[in-house]
């Protein structure tokens, strides 16, 4: 049976990649030395590789459009795919540390581009350790939205420094987010939810977004519905904890 299907990781009916060929461990150690290529600086990010229809390889960046949304730890890319059609004019990128999962998202985007000509041209994915290399991808104030959906909870206290939201890492996220930019976090682990909220609440460059505003933000609904992890939690009838904060100028 494997012989028969093994030659194609792409489903014949939907023309989308099949997840079962891209299984990966759920955890990855962000502290270990990585050996994948990293752009030297944001100006070295090759947009023509990520968005071939929008950028030709001769484009030298410059004043042209920049990536504005980053989904950190995008997993299988559910949110990105939804955002892509919701914000067709915005460039967005998923960042994922697991090799195979990144490969899946890459295939998924390519397949969607073929199936829906003209669509999904604004979305891409990159394999990287965002905890180490965020400043290599984005310049100061470049982003308007950052997503941290269902991150690894790293329960042990010894491993808390591996968490993707921490006071020190928020300094870097505040650097790449423009003033008014929004950081979205959600988890199904109450302890981690509290942790992320505490970090954001205590940070001088973020303020909580009011309930009313959250109601009006179409993206908030996607947090729990669009991602694979979110759907899993919903299936199991689990609870989710979200924290959505705005980047503000620090008071002097």
């Amino acid at each position: 049976m494997l012989e028969k299907e093994g030659h194609s990781k792409i489903s014949k009916s939907t023309h989308l990649p099949r997840k079962r060929f891209y299984r990966a461990r759920a955890h990855s150690n962000p502290l270990s030395d990585s050996h994948f290529p990293v752009p030297i600086s944001p100006s070295h990010v090759d947009y023509s590789v990520h968005f071939p229809q929008l950028f030709s390889s001769s484009d030298e960046g410059g004043d042209s459009k920049k990536i504005e949304f980053a989904d950190v730890g995008c997993g299988f890319g559910g949110l990105l795919i939804s955002l892509s059609t919701l914000f067709p004019e915005t460039l967005m990128i998923g960042m994922e540390i697991r090799d195979k999962v990144t490969e899946y998202v890459k295939e998924r985007i390519l397949a969607l581009r073929v199936a829906n000509p003209g669509q999904y041209q604004n979305v891409s994915v990159v394999r990287t350790n965002s905890m180490k290399y965020i400043p290599n991808y984005f310049g100061k104030g470049q982003l308007s939205k950052m997503f941290f959906l269902f991150p690894d909870p790293h329960f042990k206290e010894k491993n808390h420094r591996r968490r993707v939201i921490s006071t020190h890492l928020l300094d870097e996220y505040a650097y790449v987010l423009g003033i008014g930019g929004i950081i979205y976090t959600i988890t199904d682990v109450e302890e981690l939810g509290d942790w992320m909220k505490d970090c954001l609440e205590g940070h001088p460059m973020f303020e909580a977004i009011t309930e009313a505003e959250l109601e009006g933000d179409p993206v908030v609904k996607l947090l729990s519905s669009a991602t694979e992890e979110g759907q899993k939690v919903a299936r199991n009838g689990g609870q989710t904890f979200q924290a959505v904060y705005r980047r503000i100028a620090p008071s002097l």
Binding site: P30, L31, D33, H35, I40, S41, P42, M131, K132, P135, N136, K140, R161, T167, H168, L169, L170, D171, E172, A174, Y175, H203, P204, M205, P250, L252
Partner: protein, 433 residues
């Protein structure tokens, strides 16, 4: 050839060696050399060696010192290293006024321009600040606790520096990064606002220094790296102004076919007080490379190489005072294996370290003989431990320092087999508690 060496470094953590360091009092009053856990101070004005007095209850350094520095006004001196102790000294009486315990090994120290805060960085990438408020010449500070102010994500911080106006704190790491953070009014609450990242190096950043000129008082940052370049940066925007390839341009790269990339890492940088001359110590260069910084053109160029004859002297650390025209250099290593001497420290001095005027023939920098250097033989005896040193020790020391730097700062590459083996022998799995 490289693999066995790496493995050895893995298996015997205890063979780690530390390079000798030198620091010069801003008014040229004292010269300090650290070698291993030993801190040696010489009083240039009095012409005598200084005995350190440690009043605070903590012990003296028990392991290699990795960072030493005088405060901008020369009232304070800080030493720290692998024993996780940060010692703050009164740089006049040489009493230890405070000993602070760090959680991790300390890799860099800096003192804020106003002298109110001591900052130190550890091997996990966290920068800590310590408030010296209430520092009094003769008083011992007690119960001081450091607060974390910023962090590079689990990357060894190699150098820490305050901007000339004191507004920014600059930290460099082994992941090629230089971060410029606003040093806040209340540093103990954290330096959350990042001014810029200076990105461009393609290997670990090893050292930072500032150049300045009367019309550019805020100055520019220069950085040295394992990629054999010295780069010039505008810290406000983080933009790279110029890159100087010190490895290839000087043409001293070994031509014995090894062609190793990491062969000529920049080890240390030192700038003249008038601001535009940069001295660079480079692995494999027996001497000092002088770079000219043209501030208005925002460019760096190689001025000349001052070679050091007699013994393969490759400096491990540089220092200068704001008033004198001496460039102090030290080479050495904390432990030597298979040799009679246990450690090595050798001090040399270059005079005429300045630019008199851009177009005149500059005061030629010259290497001083041992009997010509300030402090003379007495100083050498104190700082080096002995006056004469056997020649063969130098090459062994240079090799040891280079290996230690590689092991510490360069990412290890493993073959597929070895990677599997290392996975099997991971010790973080489930060991009996």
């Amino acid at each position: 050839m490289e693999e066995p060496a790496i493995e050895e470094g893995d298996n015997h953590r205890d063979v780690e060696v530390a390079p000798a360091l030198i620091s010069v009092h801003p008014d040229h009053k004292f010269i300090v050399v650290s070698i291993g856990s030993d801190l040696r101070v010489f009083d240039l004005q009095g012409g005598c060696s200084v005995t350190l007095v440690d009043d605070s209850s903590g012990p003296l350094h028990k392991d290699s010192i990795r960072a030493i520095r005088f405060g901008a006004e020369g009232k304070l001196f800080v030493s720290a290293g692998d024993d996780k102790l940060v010692k703050i000294w009164n740089a006049n009486s040489w009493h230890c006024i405070s000993t602070v315990c760090s959680e991790k090994r300390v890799s860099a120290v800096a003192i804020s321009k106003d002298g109110l805060f001591v900052c130190f960085a550890d091997k996990f990438g966290v920068v800590w600040a310590l408030n010296l408020d209430g520092f009094d010449e003769n008083q011992v500070l007690v119960d001081k606790k450091a607060a974390p102010v910023l962090a590079h994500y689990c990357s060894i911080i190699t150098s820490l520096e305050f901007s000339l106006d004191g507004r920014f704190i600059i930290s460099a790491d082994r992941d090629f990064k230089i971060r410029v953070s606003v040093f806040p009014k209340k540093p103990l609450d954290g330096a959350h606002e990042i001014q810029s990242f200076c990105l461009g190096h393609t290997e670990f950043v090893s050292c930072l220094a500032f150049v300045c000129a009367p019309d550019y008082p805020e100055g520019f940052l220069v950085s040295g790296s394992g990629d054999s370049t010295v780069r010039l940066w505008d810290i406000t925007s983080g933009s790279l102004l110029d890159t100087c390839e010190v490895g290839s341009q000087a043409g001293f790269l070994e031509s014995n076919g090894r062609g190793e990339e990491h062969y000529s890492a920049v080890i240390d940088l030192c700038t003249t007080p008038d601001g535009t001359l940069v001295a660079a110590a480079i692995q494999s260069l027996q001497g000092i490379m002088l770079l000219n910084c043209n501030i208005s053109a925002k460019s760096l160029s190689i001025a000349k190489v001052v070679s050091i004859t007699g013994g393969s002297f490759i400096p491990t650390s540089l220092g200068t005072a704001s008033c004198a025209e001496f460039l102090w250099m030290v080479t050495g290593v904390s432990t030597l294996h298979g040799l009679d001497s246990h450690s090595l420290a050798r001090v040399r001095v270059i005079s005429g370290f300045r630019i008199s005027s851009p177009d005149s023939v500059e005061h030629e920098p010259t290497m001083l003989e041992d009997d010509e250097i300030p402090g003379g033989e007495k100083l050498l005896e104190k700082l080096q431990g002995s006056v004469s040193i056997e020649n063969k020790v130098f090459s062994a020391a240079a090799e040891a320092v280079k290996m230690a730097m590689c092991n510490l700062l360069i990412k290890k590459q493993y073959s597929a087999d070895k990677r599997e083996f290392r996975k099997r022998t991971r010790n973080d799995k489930k060991i009996k508690q």
